[in-house]
Amino acid sequence: MPNHQINPNKWIDLYSDYLYNYTITRVNDKVIAQDLVQDTFLAGLKSMKNFKGEASERTWLISILKRKIIDYYRKINSNKGKAEVRMSYNDAETEGDWLEERVADPFDKTAEDDMQNNELGNAIHNCLGKLPSKQADVFKMKTILGYETETICNELNITPSNLWVIIHRARTAMADCLEKNWF
């Protein structure tokens, strides 16, 4: 008996930010992340009949996205492979340089911090998903995208005092939610 329903009309509002944040931490390029998220929704739409309702819509979309990310890396790695074939270390001056180029990346030292930050990022997006949509939109625009108060007010047709009331409610709810799940 399927427990979860599927409704592609709501995918963008409900899951696009979560999927985007998931992708950006893995591909580190905004445009590519946007494309991968868009591709995921389109692929999800095509394979809707495969959705059995055993997992949530979001989990199902994430599993499609994971495959898209793997495909992306496979593609760029195969291009890189071609480039490496053309590399030459035959001359006396550069002989042995390939050894230096293959030493461990010193930035790996921060890998654990990055992992923790990814988890925190997911916790933040989970909490954002629990906010009423208007609160979530205003909070994201102000706090994450860093938009000016005036820009948000014009875009959403609200007054500055409305904005601050919404921000206050959103911040209180976010702190409550993160306190339960993270702090």
Binding site: I12, D17, Y20, K46, I124, H125, I167, H168, F183
Partner: protein
């Protein structure tokens, strides 16, 4: 005169929380900050709110979270709606 001074610098708990929110986005003026700090010096409720609010800002900055712009979402919606229509026909 004393009362005037008091009301001039005094903010309620709700107002102090509003100033605290503004301060998280660097939108509190110097005068706002003075009023907030005065309230923080004696009000436990404001202090607790301030602590949680600052922690929230810190965690969001640490996490380096990102999200899509409204314009980008709108474009995605259009693309998806088009695909839904094509699939239905």
């Amino acid at each position: 005169m004393e009362n005037m001074k008091k009301s001039f610098l005094f903010v309620s708990c709700d107002e102090a929380q509003h100033l605290c929110d503004k301060a998280q986005y660097n939108e509190a003026s110097l005068f706002d900050k003075i009023k907030l700090n005065l309230r923080l010096s004696w009000c436990r409720v404001t202090r607790a709110y301030y602590k949680r609010n600052t922690k929230l800002t810190k965690k969001i900055n640490e996490a380096n979270v990102d999200c899509l712009t409204p314009e980008c979402k709108e474009n995605m919606k259009k693309e998806l709606e088009k695909a839904i229509k094509n699939q239905a026909s």
